[in-house]
């Protein structure tokens, strides 16, 4: 398929800079997800790659060739839009045929390609239907079919699942991932939903305010968020954050005193010069262990229990008033107003300095750059 390379890509509207210098290289056959809160510039970036928005400065390379000044159709990409953007007056077959017709593909070849794609997407029985007669999921499939049939070098998806209901979204997520594995096409996918990003991506690009906060595999981002923003954004329910002060630091360990007075040991290094400085301790709800322990102990009162069946979320108020979410397996017999004790495993804690940048963590798994 194709590689995509972004070199210092910028986008300026009148006086405001929306995309502030993005560098990114996407390997062939890679499934890359742009994720971020609304207004972070992820859709703009995708539209710039598609050619629907001008690139103010920087270079966009597809397969090593600079395509900044090429028209969208000449870049060899296909896009699936959030609203599907099917042509309402054409039936399913004609929708998929339109691009091929404009590319002057012979009739027999068109028919062959469309029928093959329709079979892949289970649309054979709907070829004569107009988009208005189809369900949301079917329309989604037609939009994907319209993209596939042109055999593009790169697929672009702009929040394709956000118009579907929750169960259909889960189903389409699996279908998309399966389809990507079968086609092996380079794919760029935009979403604000971190679950979609985590489940489908080979590589996640977290964006905020036009800046790439971190690039990495889903597990890299989960285990080694580079800063507070990524730590907050990746993972559900989101990571807990507690303010504290560094009281001692060695090569292997940093000791932090929380606002509540408790002392926590964190497996992080190179923080000798931070002694006395304010830091933020981050720990994921699923990593906090219920029960008494000697090290890294904490306690509080349960305010609310959310039972999810396979797990439960305990909302715990600590003595100093900080609210903590703890995820436990199953219903563990904890109820609202119960007092609980728990511990933060040293190797699972994250530390962020006053600028919100993560301290180097000493733990298993791949290291973030």
């Amino acid at each position: 398929m194709a590689t995509v390379e972004l070199k210092n890509i910028r986008k300026t509207y009148t006086s405001e800079e929306i995309i502030k210098g993005v560098d990114l290289s996407i390997e062939s056959k890679e499934f890359v997800v742009f994720v971020g809160p609304s207004g972070c510039g992820k859709s703009t970036l995708l539209r710039m790659i598609a050619g629907l928005e001008d690139i103010s400065s920087g270079d966009l390379l597809i397969d090593g060739r600079r395509v900044n000044d090429l028209a969208p159709a000449e870049r060899g990409l296909a896009m699936v839009f959030q609203s599907y953007a099917l042509y309402p007056h054409m039936n399913v077959y004609q929708n998929m045929e339109f691009g091929l017709k404009l590319a002057k593909t012979p009739e027999a070849e068109r028919r062959e390609k469309i029928l093959a794609v329709a079979q892949t997407l289970q649309l054979e029985n709907y070829l004569k239907h107009k988009p208005g007669q189809l369900s949301g999921g079917q329309r989604q499939r037609v939009a994907i079919g319209r993209a596939i049939v042109r055999n593009p070098k790169v697929f672009l998806f702009d929040e394709p699942l956000s118009n579907l209901d929750a169960s259909l979204r889960g189903q389409m997520r699996v279908e998309l991932a399966t389809l990507h594995r079968r086609l092996g096409a380079t794919t760029i996918y935009v979403t604000h939903d971190q679950i979609e990003a985590m489940t489908m991506a080979d590589k996640i690009v977290v964006l905020q305010k036009g800046i790439v906060e971190q690039v990495g595999s889903p597990l890299e981002l989960y285990d080694h968020p580079r800063n507070l923003f990524v730590a907050k954004f990746i993972g559900s329910p989101p990571m807990n954050f507690l303010p504290g002060t560094v009281i001692a630091a060695s090569e292997e360990q940093v000791r932090v005193r929380l606002a509540s007075g408790q002392e926590i040991a964190v497996a992080a290094g190179s923080a000798q010069d931070l002694v006395g400085a304010g830091v933020t301790l981050g720990v994921r709800p699923e990593h906090i262990r219920l029960g008494d322990s000697v090290e890294n102990r904490g306690s509080g009162q349960v305010e609310l229990v959310e039972y999810l069946g396979s797990a439960a979320h305990l909302h715990v108020r600590m003595q100093d008033g900080a609210l903590l979410v703890i995820q436990t397996e199953g219903g563990v017999g904890v109820h609202a107003d119960d007092a609980v004790t728990f511990s933060f495993p040293a190797e699972r804690c994250h530390l962020f300095n006053s600028e919100g940048v993560a301290l180097h963590r000493r733990s298993s798994g791949r290291m973030a750059a």
């Binding site: 629907l52 839009f81 609203s83 953007a85 042509y87």
Partner: protein, 302 residues
């Protein structure tokens, strides 16, 4: 006999019991409808079979189909039918064709778009007699008109449009009045086109022309159908513009059916003949309406 009476009485009672209040509610509307449409229709039909001439009161009584025969065998009548068709079709082509292009143009971003939009709509607000006068005296007058002045300014002899090409000129004036209406309706339709659809077409490799014919025009088809229907209804009865500019002349060169009926009734005082023309106009309007409603209904379904 008595059985029949009781049966009908019984029937009437039941009907009154079931729908008395409904009928009562409907009565005013039905009454107004009768007075406003059925009475004139019946009177027109009645007069069309009567000898009725205002300048010759001695001639009266039932005329049979004479009024119709006289009218249908009159070459002026055929000319007026032809002129009506030319006027309707010509104005429709100009206003819908031009309206579509202008709507697409005015959908683009350009400096002064707001002002330009107001200007393009404004002719619609000028009443027909005034706009006809504007064209006749201000623009096309062979001596004082702006057009004539422009022609002379470059050393050319101005054409007396209303004299040389009366039908074409009337068509232009009416099209000038109705183009804004088409632009107004079609512009709102163009603006409702989903931006992502245009972008999808862009990615499919559609150039401006392909996008216009494959995306914009199909999207506009319903709006165009509505414009054609509404304009046709009004264009069949164009009168003021002809009255003011050419008075149907020279000869009957710019007389349409509406003007012919007027001239029969109020210039030649032949009420019977004019009524026959009116009945024919009603028949033609209904045929046109039947076709249009069918075509539009098909477009509106989807």
């Amino acid at each position: 006999m008595s059985a029949v009476t009781t049966a009908s009485q019984h029937h009437r009672k039941a009907a009154i019991g079931a729908g008395a209040s409904g009928a009562l509610m409907l009565a005013p509307a039905v009454f107004v409808l009768l007075v406003w449409s059925v009475v004139p229709l019946v009177l027109t039909l009645w007069y069309s079979f009567q000898n009725y001439n205002l300048v010759d009161p001695t001639l009266h009584g039932f005329a049979g189909v004479n009024n119709y025969w006289y009218l249908l065998s009159d070459p002026d009548f055929l000319q007026s039918l032809l002129n009506t068709a030319i006027l309707v079709i010509g104005v429709l082509v100009i206003s819908v064709g031009g309206g579509t292009l202008l709507a697409v143009l005015y959908d683009q971003e350009f400096v002064g778009r707001g002002v330009a939009r107001v200007l393009v709509i404004s002719p619609f607000f000028v009443m027909p007699t005034v706009s006809a006068l504007l064209w006749k005296n201000l623009m096309l007058h062979p001596i004082y008109g702006v057009y004539s002045w422009m022609m002379r300014a470059v050393g050319l002899t101005p054409i007396d449009w209303l004299q040389r090409f009366p039908m074409l000129t009337v068509m232009m004036i009416v099209a000038w009045e109705w183009l804004p209406f088409a632009v107004l309706i079609l512009l709102t339709a163009v603006q409702s086109l989903d931006a992502e659809q245009k972008e999808a077409a862009l990615l499919d490799g559609a150039g401006p022309v392909a996008r216009f014919f494959h995306i914009v025009l199909p999207h506009l088809s319903r709006a165009i159908a509505v414009v054609v229907m509404i304009e046709t209804i009004y264009l069949l009865t164009i009168f003021a513009e002809i009255m003011v500019t050419t008075a149907g002349g020279p000869g009957v060169a710019s007389t349409n059916l509406a003007y012919l009926i007027y001239s029969r009734a109020l210039l030649q005082f032949d009420v019977g003949g004019a009524s026959a023309g009116g009945v024919i106009a009603i028949v033609i309007a209904n045929i046109a309406a039947a076709f249009l409603v069918r075509a539009v209904a098909r477009h509106l379904e989807v």
